[in-house]
């Protein structure tokens, strides 16, 4: 109510202040234009401080309240399902207690089949890193080659279109057959499923390098190496990083499934192991852990991508 009273005077004062300042602003260059507007608005803002702070609060609540309510909704539904049926799903409180116990010692190790959740997550991340790293090593140069030379693109596009939709897990038996081991087979699966987004995005990026930039290269008669380092690579980098992001996301999706089938140490295996022990609250904890790790991977790569994305300069 108080905010509403203060609200209207501010808006009544502000428009004339703005309209008075704008002709001056137009005559001046851009940096100067802001100054008079800011000056004239400042006194009004001082008198209307209560309104401003209440608006800040609203922004704060809008940022914090909806996500919390969303989570609360999830927990509520979970609680309802867990308490009404005899599905065997543990209640949130039980799961929390279990989680506290699991996380109190994440790095214990009692033999290969009984290790802390920390080791399991690290083992999965290591597989993803190796499989994904090899896919990047092969896929990114392949993407550049396919994007740069039409012959190669026509040669490989049908193959990529054919192999890309195949479920990664269909590749697992091939990996087991060729590598004769669970761990390399899981890595192979990660490799094969994360290579496609990187090849495709890199190739598309190369094909979309603006013709203007290539014309600059031609007029300057730049060497192929200079074209690559100064034009092609920076221009493709945003596309490439999108490919990397998609690839990491897929890899993290696939590793859980692959580990369920291959066993060993890993978050996927842990889920399966806890299922065999009928320890459902651990499975729910694992779901949250997988989600949070995936979120962090995604977030880190988005941060990385924004570092290397230049605002496209168009006339």
């Amino acid at each position: 109510m108080v905010s509403a009273v203060f609200h209207s005077p501010l808006e009544a004062i502000a428009p004339p202040a703005n309209s008075h300042a704008s002709p001056i602003g137009k005559a001046m260059s851009a940096p100067h234009a802001n100054a008079p507007v800011a000056d004239t608005v400042a006194p009004a803002a001082v008198s209307a401080r209560p309104s401003a702070t209440s608006r800040d609060f609203r922004g704060f609540w809008m940022a914090v309240l909806p996500p919390i309510m969303g989570l609360a909704c999830l927990v509520l539904i979970w609680q309802l399902i867990a308490s009404t049926s005899n599905s065997g799903i543990p209640k949130p409180a039980e799961t929390w207690a279990q989680a506290v116990q699991v996380f109190s010692d994440p790095f214990y190790s009692e033999g290969p089949n009984d290790q802390g959740i920390g080791w399991n997550v690290l083992a999965s991340l290591q597989r993803v890193a190796i499989g994904f790293g090899m896919a990047a090593l092969v896929g990114i140069p392949a993407g550049f080659a396919i994007g740069r030379f039409e012959f190669l693109s026509r040669m490989f596009n049908p193959l990529i279109s054919l192999l890309r939709p195949v479920s990664p897990l269909a590749w697992l038996p091939i990996g087991l057959l060729v590598f004769k081991g669970a761990n390399p087979a899981a890595i192979w699966t990660i490799f094969i499923c994360s290579i496609w987004p990187m090849i495709i995005n890199t190739a598309v990026g190369v094909q979309r390098v603006p013709q203007d930039y290539m014309n600059v290269a031609r007029v300057l008669n730049l060497s192929e190496w200079k074209i690559f380092t100064k034009i092609l690579f920076p221009a493709v980098l945003p596309y490439l990083l999108t490919g990397v992001r998609l690839a990491v996301g897929t890899a993290w999706l696939v590793i859980v499934a692959a580990e369920m089938l291959t066993g060993g140490v890993g978050i996927g295996f842990w889920v399966w192991d806890e299922w065999n022990n009928l320890n459902v609250s651990s499975i729910i904890i694992a779901i949250f852990v997988i989600g949070i790790v995936g979120l962090m991977l995604e977030f880190a790569l988005i941060k990385l991508a924004t570092l290397f994305t230049f605002e496209e300069v168009k006339a």
Binding site: D212, Y213, N215, V216, R218, V219, L220, N221, L222, K226, K230, I231, P234, A235, F310, E311, E312, V313, K314, A315
Partner: protein, 270 residues
């Protein structure tokens, strides 16, 4: 190059350009004959879509003609090269390089074989100083105004000390005041460097103010040179003084007459 005929520095003979499109062949230019003398400032003017830029790209060597020959300094133009520098319509600066690095890329390409790093840097700096952008050297293109970007484009082209400067509507995207300022700067630079310039424009005043020769193209398709107007105004030219110069008005009238009376643009849906 010194023994080439000075009045035929660029020699375009019977050039014809046809593009393959989905609807068949599209004749863009036909029977273009033009010579440009050394140190001459030539503008190509015509309605949009008449093939001005096509002709400029041919001189740049970015495209090759369907028929005919283009010579520069008595040698056939076989491809693009740094001796024919291009200022692109949309400046085409690389957004991930600073202004300095954008110019340095060109300087390095042309002079790295013969000069030291310090000399290359000095060349880059002097090119930026020439267009008044010393202060913005370490900024990226995204951080400067459109006029400044275009100036960096000009600095990049000039830094290569090209034999010919090719400009494709370099000021087309700028506001009138910035355009006038850059035109004046260009006049000074050209007077100082004695460069041969071929410039595409659709601005009548720009053409008369800058040119020694205005080449007027007929409407496409199959555009050709309709008229060549020699602009015999003394240099240095001053836009304010020229504004009520009767001779200037006459040239201006001649171009407008060609563009709007004889070649009145009919927008056809091709």
């Amino acid at each position: 190059m010194s023994n080439s005929s000075p009045t035929k520095y660029i020699d375009i003979q019977h050039v014809e350009q046809t593009f393959k499109t989905k609807k068949g062949l599209f004749p863009a230019l036909k029977d273009i004959n033009l010579t440009v003398a050394k140190g001459e400032f030539v503008t190509l003017i015509g309605h949009s879509g008449c093939g001005k830029s096509t002709l400029l790209n041919l001189i740049a060597g970015l495209t090759t003609p369907t028929h005919g020959v283009l010579l520069c300094a008595d040698r056939e133009i076989a491809g693009p090269g740094p001796e024919r520098a291009v200022v692109f319509q949309n400046h085409s600066l690389l957004p991930w390089l600073t202004c300095f690095e954008n110019v340095y890329l060109a300087v390095e390409r042309v002079f790295a074989a013969t000069e030291s790093k310090a000399q290359l840097k000095a060349r880059t700096e002097s090119a930026l100083a020439l267009v008044g952008l010393t202060a913005a050297a370490q900024k990226r293109p995204g951080e400067i105004s459109g006029g400044m970007k275009q100036r960096v484009g000009i600095a990049r082209a000039l830094s290569m000390e090209p034999m010919v400067l090719l400009m494709d509507e370099p000021f087309g995207a700028l506001d009138a005041l910035t355009r006038a300022k850059l035109q004046d700067e260009l006049l000074e630079i050209v007077a100082a460097t004695q460069a041969t310039v071929v410039m595409v424009t659709h601005d009548v005043d720009e053409a008369v103010l800058l040119s020694d020769k205005i080449v007027m193209l007929t409407n496409g398709p199959a555009a050709t040179i309709g008229e060549v107007l020699a602009v015999d105004l003394p240099r240095p030219r001053n836009r304010v003084a020229l504004a009520d110069d009767p001779q200037y008005q006459q040239y201006r009238k001649a171009v407008i007459d060609f563009l709007y009376t004889r070649q009145a643009h009919v927008e056809k849906v091709a």
